[in-house]
Every structure is written in C-alpha cells, then in structure tokens.
Amino acid sequence: MPQAAGPAPEEGAAGEGAPGEGAAGRRADDLLAGLLGLAGAGLLAASPWLVDRSGPEPFYKGPLIFPLIALALLVAGALPSLVRLAASLLEGQGGLGRLAPPWAAVRLVGLMCLFPPALPLIGLEAAVALFACLGLLAVGWRRPLAGLAVALGLALVLHLAFKSLLDVWFPEPLLWALLEAAA
C-alpha cells in the first residue's frame, strides 16, 4: 500500500499498468491481455463445439448466445493490447525488461497445490499445521518456534471455527485410518 502523499486520484483513473514500471510494465499488461484475448478468441471459435446445442430452442433462447457475447467482449477488450504486442514484436521490442519473478509467491502457490489432496489424507488440523509451517518456510520465515506457534494456533482456530462452531463435516483422515487398520 503506497503512502499517501498528494491529492486522491479518481478511482480507476490511473494510467494502464502498475505505477512506476514504464514500458516494461505496459508490455507485461499487453502480454497478459494478449494471452487472455487469444484464449478468448480460441474459445469463441470453438464455442459451437464446446456448448451442447441439442435442445429444441431457437438460438436467442439457447445456451450459446450469452457466452458468445461474453467472449466477444473479452476479445474486444484485448484487441488494443494484441495490436500493440504485434507492433512491438515487428519492431523487435518484445522484452519484458527486468521484471523479477515473484519466487516467494511461486513457492507458496506450488506448496498450496498439495494442500487439497493432503486434507482428506491427514485431516484438517494436521494439514493446516503442516502447511502453515511449510508455507512460512517457503516465504522465508526464519523463526521456527514462532512459526510453529502460528501453525498450531491456526490449526486450533480453524478446528474451533469450522468443526466446533459451524459443525462442518471434514473427511476422516485416510492415513490415520490406514495406520490404525495396519496396527
């Protein structure tokens, strides 16, 4: 959150791109818009095959009209970026400059992809405690005892909130059941 220094800008009135990144930032915006636009164009072209139109309705009542409008909007919104991207590629200025990859975020997302499968495997509390510890390590937290306390505290809070208070059902930990059966 930037510190307040001058008059308030009108919401949404800022220029394209995150502030302070110049041409490389604008190219990153164009690249993101271009990728979404191309994906949208692909879906738009393939829509007649990706939507089941076996019903008897006329087109205007059918399932295809609104997705087509949605994807057309998507592609229309991406068009200026696609044009700029094509122009910059033709001029040989396609680089993104020195935009550093967000490694902490990449590590954390990669780790959290394993959380959903771990939930039914080791149960809510163990999964939360384990992934909180690993997550803190992944983002560069260097105080193991404090990290452990945070992880156990979080597991306790989520247990109390979801299981005790809201009575939400979570799967029985499969691993514990297997170990019990083996014992």
Partner: protein, 492 residues
C-alpha cells in the same frame, strides 16, 4: 410498516445476529486496519461461514465486515500515513499532519465521529429512498431489468476510463466464467471439456476467495512491514473529550454523509470518489480552506463520513433493482442469491422483515464499530505490526479450508488456487478486478434477462426500443459512453 420495523428490531437484537454483526465488524476493522487486505478480503474469507447461517445473520456478518473495514482503514491512515483501505487515503491528508503535531487523538476522534455520522445519515437516506425506488422499479419487466443491469455494468466499466480495454476484457471474462457448467433453462453443458466437475459450474465462492483472499495474500508477500516505531497515542482508548469538538462540524458531517450515500448509490465510482468529493466540498465551504491538508480535523471527518456512507448507499440499487454498484455489494448479492432471495422491487414487499433487520443491523454495526475502535484503539493500531508472511500464509490456508465445505469438493480448492494466481497477476498489474467480479455475479442475471427479453420480442432486440423506460435507460447508457469521449476531445 411499524410492525415490520418492530419485527426487524427483534431479529436484529437476537443473540445470533448480534454475535454475527459484532464478529463481522471486528473482522472488518482488522482487515481495514491491515494495509493491503481490506474489506473485500474479509468478506471473501467469511463467505463460506455464511452457508450455515440464516440469510439475515449471514448478511449482518458480511455487512459488519463491509462497514467495519471503512472504520478501520482510517487508523493507519492517520497514525502512519498509510491508508488501510484506498478511500482512507483522503483521511491521511489532514490526519497524519495532526498526528505529527501530537494531536492523533483529535484526528482519530474526528475520523471516528465522521465514520459514525456518515454511516447513520446514509441509513436514514436508505430507509427513505429504498421504498420510493422500489415503487418505480415495480413497473419493470425483463427488458427494463436487462437495460438497468446493463446500465449498472456499463457505469462500472466506464468508471475505469483509462483502463477501458482491461475493464471490458475482465467483464467479458467474468461473464464467460459465469456460463461454465450446465445451463439452467436448457440443461446443456457449456465449456465442461468432458470434466463432470466443470459441469457443476464454477462456484462464486472459490472464484472470489481465490481472486481476493489468495491473490491479495500473494501480493502482500511483496509488501514490507510498516514502520510503526513512531506510534503516537497518548492513551489506549479514544479520548472522548475530543468528540464534542468534532461534533462542531455537524454541517460538514451531514453534507458528507449525503454526498457519500449518493456516490454509493451510483454503480462504479466507489468509496474513493465519495471521500474525495466530501473532502473537497468541506474544503470549499470552509472559512479556512488553506488549513486543509495541513492538519484540519474537519477534513478527516468529511472524508470518513463520505466513505462510510457508501455501504448504505450501495444497498439502495442492490435491494431495489438487484444491481450491485461495486465488488463488495456484488458479494452481498451473491449471499442473497445463495439463500434463495432475489433482490428487486418485490423484495421490500416479500421480505419486509429481512429488510427491516438489515436496516437495524446497519445501525448496530456502525455503533459497534465506533465503540470497538474507540475502546481498543491501541490494540487495533498495533495489529499493523503483524508480519505480512504470517498474514499471507494464514489467509491462504483459511481460504482453502473455507472453500472445501462449500461443495465438499477438492476441485473447488484447485479453482481457488487458479483464481488466486489470476487475482495476483491482476492486482499486481493494477487491473480493474472489480469488472471481473461484476461479470461473474451479474453474468447469470444479465443472461436470464436477455433471454426473457428476446423471448418477449420473439428474437428481436428491437423490443428494447419500444418501451419508454428501456429506451430512456439505453439513452443513458449511450450518454455514459459518449460524454467522456466528447469531453476528451474538447480538451486541448
């Protein structure tokens, strides 16, 4: 009417509702105080908790976060010149200079009185205006609804004039995401790619939790911890003797509350514009405009009254037309729909007790937020010291755990993670993510209204031009698109 108000009063003061609105308010203040989070993250994270709650209690919980966030955002803006929510940026103009002069209590009193006053004034306007608008909207058929919803969406899109391409792109993406899965009227599968999980559609909860809860948390990792070494508070709670001084600005309070409510009523502009317009009006009406920006408590009061009036203002089109003005009320709309309640002109007739409960709850939320912050000012101010790494990991885990019980599907956690990556990219690049949320929430509503309209016109969209209200609204749409272009051309 009186009976409904009494029933609503009883429902609002029921223990479950009081607990929900208090919990929501505290969470709202927490996420408002913490720069980088904000009420949207709080509402998204609490969304799964609402499934096991009755509609009125669920709405009180989320409204608590909505209003509490604006209350909390003023604290770091005044103490550290770092707004907790974007609209508190304006509060910092005068709040921080006052803090530097050792008058933080004066600034905080003005801001909190402003927040409370703005909130209360906007509730009065909501109670008065909603039935009037509802009566007008009672004459609406599908074409009028379609035109009104189109107008609402258009206003949001064009409010990001300098990011129009991104805004249109995200709106289209949101609309498309809302179409994935089985189509309700025809039961046709759309974009399922052979996966049965996709046939059930993309639920709004994982999408919103991913975009805001996970996306914002990932972004938080790149933001450093605030320098809070110079926290200057003479006492742990608010100095109540300063409140009387703030009440001297009652005219500014009322004016700012009215401005905030009407800005909130319009889809698109949002709380930043509300607080800025209220601040600007206070400055122009002041006998000492030069003192604004240098530590005039009236400025902070005006800005906070303006931004805290937005939630009740935003409820007016939401309750009467079913059109959310921005992302936060779009999320509220999803809670209504998930509970089988469809906001519109008949809502005030069909669910008068629910509406009355909401009015009372809003009133209570403003009082609770004021008292909680006034009594525990220092603890809330020191929460800013929470390490961002702990915050980010905790919010992501709470989000993932919260998503699972929605449909008991691990697939939803995957959707949330994917949405989180997209949300991170969009937030980092400062794209108008509000348009995406509007698209996801408004997509099904617009699609249904479009089909009904086209069915009435036997396939011809010209039916929209044959009805006076739709024609008027479409002309307004045209004006919204063309006027900025004309203004741009007129500029040298």
């Amino acid at each position: 009417m009186i009976d409904h108000l009494a029933e609503g009063f009883a429902a609002a003061f029921a223990l479950a509702n009081l607990l929900a609105l208090s919990a929501g308010t505290v969470v709202g203040i927490l996420v408002g105080v913490l720069p980088g989070l904000g009420p949207m993250v709080g509402m998204a994270v609490l969304l799964p908790f609402t499934f096991s709650l009755p509609a009125d209690v669920a709405l009180s919980l989320l409204l608590g976060v909505f209003c509490g966030g604006y209350f909390g955002g003023a604290v770091p803006a005044i103490l550290f010149r770092t707004p907790g929510v974007p609209s508190s940026l304006v509060t910092a103009f005068d709040g921080f200079p006052l803090t530097r002069r050792g008058e933080a209590q004066r600034a905080l009193s003005a801001a909190l009185v402003g927040s409370l006053g703005g909130g209360l004034i906007s509730i009065v306007i909501l109670v008065a205006l909603a039935p009037l608008l509802s009566r007008v909207a009672a004459a609406f058929g599908p074409p009028e609804y379609f035109a009104a919803a189109l107008f609402g969406v258009l206003l949001v899109v064009v409010s990001f004039r300098r990011k129009l391409g991104q805004s249109v792109l995200l709106l289209g993406l949101g609309f498309w995401l809302s179409t994935v899965g089985l189509d309700g009227p025809t039961l046709s599968a759309r974009y399922a790619f052979g996966f049965w999980e996709l046939q059930n559609g993309l639920h709004i909860v994982p999408l919103v939790l991913g975009l805001f809860g996970i996306g914002q948390s990932l972004l938080l990792l790149e933001q450093g911890i605030l320098d809070t070494g110079h926290l200057k508070l003479s006492r742990g709670s608010l100095d109540f003797s300063k409140i009387r001084e703030s009440l001297r600005y009652w005219r500014t309070l009322i004016r700012s509350g009215v401005i905030g409510t009407f800005v909130g009523l319009l889809p698109g502009p949002g709380s930043v514009l509300a607080s800025y317009l209220a601040y600007d009006a206070a400055k122009h009406r002041s006998r000492d405009p030069d003192s604004f920006g240098k530590g005039n408590p009236e400025g902070g009061l005006a800005a906070e009254a303006g931004n805290n009036a937005v939630p009740a203002g935003a409820l007016i089109p939401l309750l009467t037309l079913g059109i959310p003005g921005e992302a936060l009320s779009a999320l509220l709309l999803s809670v209504f729909i998930l509970n089988g309640i469809y906001p519109g002109p008949l809502l005030l007739v069909k669910e008068p007790v629910l509406i009355s409960t909401l009015y009372w709850s809003m009133l209570l939320i403003n009082l609770v937020a004021f008292l909680v912050l006034a009594l525990w000012l220092r603890p809330f101010a020191t929460i800013v010291r929470t390490p961002v790494k702990v915050l980010a990991v905790s919010v992501i885990l709470v989000s993932l755990v919260g998503i699972y019980p929605v449909n008991l599907r691990l697939f939803d956690c995957g959707v949330a993670l994917a949405a989180g990556v997209l949300g991170y990219a969009l937030l980092k690049r400062d794209w108008p993510i509000v348009s995406l949320v509007m698209g996801i929430v408004m997509g099904p509503i617009l699609e249904n209204r479009l089909r009904e309209t086209l069915s009435l016109g036997e396939g011809s969209p010209l039916i929209l031009l044959e009805r006076p209200i739709t024609l008027g609204v479409l002309l307004l749409c045209l004006a919204v698109v063309l006027l900025p272009l004309r203004r741009r051309r007129a500029r040298p």
